[in-house]
């Protein structure tokens, strides 16, 4: 079960739940003594580096580590926060290229988003909780907000004051416009098998497969092998990465 920090009860009626892989890692870290935990977090930090595959959910685990898992003055705290900053910077810079901004403007938007991220990360605001569950989505949303603000500012020659109060109130309804279009496409083009696999993975949160026969898995539910399940998921991901021109 998620701890209270993973719930955003004040801002939204919906309770956010960490993904199983994130929850499992957080539970594992919590079971360690503080010194062991911080050494483990330092190890996790080194997993986010160029040339390595990005382990799913790692940034959420690091957000939790910075906010709750490590002492405020510790190598692990500082390193985790710095890695979050660096990975977010890489993510945002690749994202900003899709827009027709000048270099200066693009860099300003990225910097503004990163500064905002760090402010939220290093302070005790309750709205940060959601970031532990959907970090990249929240970051993306924050980026879109700042980007939109920049566009308005540009069109009105800086003469506008934009209410930014709710910009970090990221509720489950707050999906960037670009994402909504992508999601519509995704959902309309799924085959029955893909829908079923995604339902079992995303809603029922079943593991793809397991050697333990008592464990309910996606493979068992659909009567296919674990490899087939993984291939279905890979196919979906690849198809939409192509449509996003990411690869």
């Amino acid at each position: 079960m998620n701890d209270e920090h993973a719930q955003n009860t004040q801002r939204s009626s919906r309770t956010y739940t960490r993904r199983p892989e994130v929850e499992e890692k957080v539970r594992y870290l919590l079971s360690l003594r503080p010194a062991q935990r911080e050494r483990e977090v330092l190890m996790l930090c080194s997993s986010i580096t160029p040339g390595h595959r990005y382990p799913a959910g790692l940034l959420e685990v690091l957000v939790w580590s910075v906010r709750h898992g490590c002492r405020r003055v510790s190598k692990a705290h500082d390193e985790a926060a710095a890695r979050i900053y660096a990975a977010s910077g890489v993510f945002l810079r690749s994202k900003v290229r899709k827009f027709a901004y000048t270099n200066v403007e693009a860099e300003r938007i990225v910097e503004e988003t990163l500064t905002s991220l760090m402010q939220h990360l290093l302070t005790d605001e309750s709205t940060i909780s959601f970031w532990e569950c959907q970090f990249l989505r929240c970051l993306s949303y924050r980026f879109e907000t700042i980007s939109a603000k920049s566009q308005v500012r540009r069109s009105l020659s800086d003469a506008v004051s934009i209410d930014d109060e709710n910009a970090c109130d990221i509720s489950d309804m707050a999906i960037a416009v670009e994402d909504i279009a992508l999601l519509r496409t995704i959902m309309s083009e799924l085959s029955d098998e893909e829908r079923q696999v995604l339902y079992l993975k995303c809603v029922e949160q079943l593991p793809e497969e397991s050697s333990d026969t008592s464990v309910d898995t996606i493979a068992r539910r659909i009567g296919k092998s674990g490899r087939t399940v993984r291939n279905v998921l890979k196919r979906i991901r690849e198809r939409y990465l192509e449509s996003e021109n990411i690869q």
Binding site: R33, A82, S94, I175, C202
Partner: protein, 169 residues
Amino acid sequence: MNSNDEQTRDQAIALHLLNDIHEAHLDTALQNVTRREFEELIKTGSSMVTSGLSVPWSVRASAFELGMDLVELGRELRLSSEVLQKLDMRLLRVSTLPERLFDMLADLLIVPVEHIRAYVALPPAIPAGIRFHAASGEPAVVLESFEDALLDEDVLSDDDRAFWLGDRC
């Protein structure tokens, strides 16, 4: 399944999928960034973290958070708790502190070594009952050298003293 359930289900799928796509996006971006660029970003991130809010800290508190008291920490460092107490209260002259003490302390407390350096360089904490100079009103704190603090210690073994002072003891 009614249409509401279906909509909720689709939304849940979509949100998870969106996360998956974002992660794939990051994965791809990480493949395309150079190690040097990434190190630069980490450096900027680090400076943002260290320039953030100042957090109260002490050697004793940091050790305590890791489940150690000064006696246990002293055992690891081959120092008495009294010497550590003086270090924690910044009653030792910084220039006399050996470099490896900073390194060992940083390793044991798992904190950045720069943080320890900055901490010991702060003005001394005023021990309770300290006398004040009548004229200036300044506390009469006399800083001790690391070597003197060790030589004054009865509880320290000869081996431990030699570990820190070599042939000076």
